[in-house]
């Protein structure tokens, strides 16, 4: 667990962090997000002592970071930054093996471990002997992550790790991040200015205001459904309602038999897989299907997109096994509103 205890950071002329008190739980991803000047990067860098607080303490598992040897502390914390900051003069493999080398690992051990890690982050062995200048931005970022993971640190700090790459690459990196975190379960503190990224990747999100004040700290759902003030509501952005539906599972929706959809124009192939909707204009593509476990938001999107107002569910083999009618969706949303009104606010 990482604790911020009344942390203040003042620079001549401005306050970067203003009495921040926060508890970042072990094994979870906490995202610090906010407009520029809100102190998110400064706060992050106080965890590995790249910056020292003006007052207040930063604790890792109860121990003040200020009392520890800086270099040793940092060797136990992974640090990933925008543009990766790779050593241009070392090969990819040597870059990844840096912290193990500092910790005294043997050459053979650390190279083997580094190769494994490269694979873990989705880079094949052929990248090992290349230099960073030969890699694309997205590839460099992956190497940066592998380097941070190399000594298997319990804590990872990530400062805008995905903002320097284009949106398509970023999507891919997001997916990989979620997959890795599922496997590794590290304590991750991430900084981003992109609220959507924060909501997508974080278990907990802390929204900071300019001047270094904490505006709200909670789960992404809480932020979307119960923003604490105008600033948070605006920062979280439009479509809050729609976006909060991503957190609801579609599993409690009433599912009707497929035959009803066939009557409304759904066309299936011999294996029972949906191929399209028959309309007056011809055969229209389905636009997608959903499976058990998908979100309410996806189902609503599908229903809106289909000419019959019906979302089609498929089983593991791709065969249609149920449908959700838009009437049921409206009823479901009404019931949901009722439930939320009865809930105590966050």
């Amino acid at each position: 667990m990482i604790t911020f205890d009344e942390v203040v950071k003042v620079y001549p002329g401005s306050t970067a962090v203003d009495h921040l008190s926060l508890e970042l739980p072990t094994g979870k991803t906490t995202v610090l997000v906010g407009p520029s000047g809100c102190g998110k990067t400064t706060s992050l860098r106080m965890i590995n002592r790249m910056v020292g607080p003006t007052s207040g303490r930063v604790l890792i598992d109860g121990r003040d970071v200020a009392g520890q040897d800086e270099a040793l502390l940092r060797r136990g914390i992974g640090y990933v930054i925008q543009h990766a900051g790779l050593f241009p003069h070392r090969t990819v493999l040597d870059n990844v093996a840096t912290v193990p080398m500092l910790l005294g690992s043997s050459r053979r051990e650390r190279r083997a471990a580094a190769l494994e890690l490269l694979e873990r982050v989705g880079l094949s062995a052929e990248f090992a002997e290349r230099y960073p200048a030969q890699l694309s931005g997205g590839q460099q970022q992956r190497v940066g992550v592998a380097r941070a993971l190399a000594a298997d640190p319990p804590i990872m700090l990530m400062d805008e790790p995905f903002s320097a790459v284009d949106p398509i690459v970023r999507e891919g990196l997001h997916r990989e991040f979620l997959r890795l975190q599922k496997d590794l379960g590290k304590t991750i503190v991430m900084v981003t200015h992109d609220i959507d990224e924060a909501i997508k990747l974080g278990d907990l999100v802390a929204i900071l205001r300019q001047g270094g004040h904490l505006a709200q700290f909670g789960t992404p759902r809480e932020l979307l459904e119960h923003p604490v003030d105008e600033f948070v509501a605006e920062f979280v952005g439009r479509d809050r309602g729609l976006r909060s539906l991503s957190f609801d599972a579609a599993d409690d929706l009433p599912v009707r038999p497929v035959t009803e959809a066939v009557g409304a124009g759904l066309v299936l192939d011999e294996a029972g897989r949906p191929t399209g909707w028959q309309t007056a204009a011809g055969l229209e593509a389905t636009g997608g299907t959903f499976r058990t476990g998908d979100s309410l938001r996806l189902v609503i999107d599908l229903a809106i997109g289909s000419p019959a107002g019906i979302a089609v569910r498929v089983g593991p083999d791709g065969a249609a096994d149920g449908i959700v009618h838009h009437h049921d969706l409206v009823d479901h949303l009404a019931a949901r509103r009722g439930r939320r009104a009865a809930e105590p606010s966050a």
């Binding site: 590995n48 790249m50 270099a71 040793l72 502390l73 940092r74 060797r75 914390i77 640090y79 930054i81 543009h83 990766a84 900051g85 790779l86 050593f87 241009p88 003069h89 070392r90 840096t98 912290v99 500092l102 230099y131 960073p132 200048a133 030969q134 380097r147």
Partner: protein, 219 residues
């Protein structure tokens, strides 16, 4: 020219040998002095400008003036080769200190911060990260210093010690062009060989620069 060479081969060879020593020794010593000096200019930012300015002043002093001035400070005889070596070392230090300082400063700040964040301590970070990355710039400066030194040694002929410069003064006194030409050609060749040698060393020692775009690559 060939006849001149065959008749005076020994003199020319001796002159060449002396020239090489007088030119390269200062480069070596100067480099070893400039490395820590340049580092200090970066480690203590307030030191940078005074250091660079002093180096600038030293570098602008004409060579002949420095050659004749040093005996006063060092207590050597005017005609001693030591004056040449010390003077050229001063020039080399003046040039390379700035190169080392600027080279270290040119290392991407993000790379340095990355190194710190991973747990590098100061000295090891300098040796493992900052110096290697700055090497192309530093070696480019070394090329300039080496070539300049090789050219300057011959001026020493005016105070009696000049390596290949002796060929110039001899030719001039006798109004005979051959030794002058031989001297110039050998001097230029020597400079070209030394320059090439450093370029080859640089390619071998900094393989990553092959893949970088123009801005960061060696001159």
């Amino acid at each position: 020219m060939i006849t001149y060479l065959s008749n005076n081969g020994d003199t020319v060879l001796a002159a060449l040998r002396q020239h090489i020593v007088l030119a390269l020794l200062p480069v070596l010593i100067g480099f070893l002095v400039a490395l820590p000096a340049g580092y200090l200019g970066v480690r203590y930012p307030w030191l940078y400008h005074p250091l660079i300015n002093t180096c600038g002043v030293l570098y602008s002093i004409p060579s002949l003036a420095l050659f004749v001035f040093l005996p006063v400070i060092l207590g050597t005889k005017i005609l001693s080769p030591l004056n040449i070596v010390v003077a050229l070392t001063v020039y080399t230090v003046a040039l390379l200190t700035r190169t080392v300082a600027d080279g270290l400063r040119s290392v991407d700040e993000l790379v340095v911060q990355s190194a710190t964040a991973m747990g590098y301590r100061r000295f090891r970070r300098l040796v493992d990260v900052q110096l290697p990355v700055a090497l192309p710039v530093i070696l480019a400066g070394l090329r300039v210093a080496t070539v300049a030194n090789i050219s300057l040694v011959s001026v020493g002929a005016l105070i009696g010690v000049g390596g290949l410069g002796q060929l110039f003064t001899r030719g001039f006194q006798l109004f005979y062009i051959q030794p002058i030409l031989v001297g110039i050609i050998l001097s230029v060749l020597l400079a070209a060989v030394a320059d090439l040698a450093i370029v080859l060393i640089q390619r071998a020692v900094t393989p990553w620069t092959r893949f970088q775009t123009g801005e960061r690559g060696p001159a």
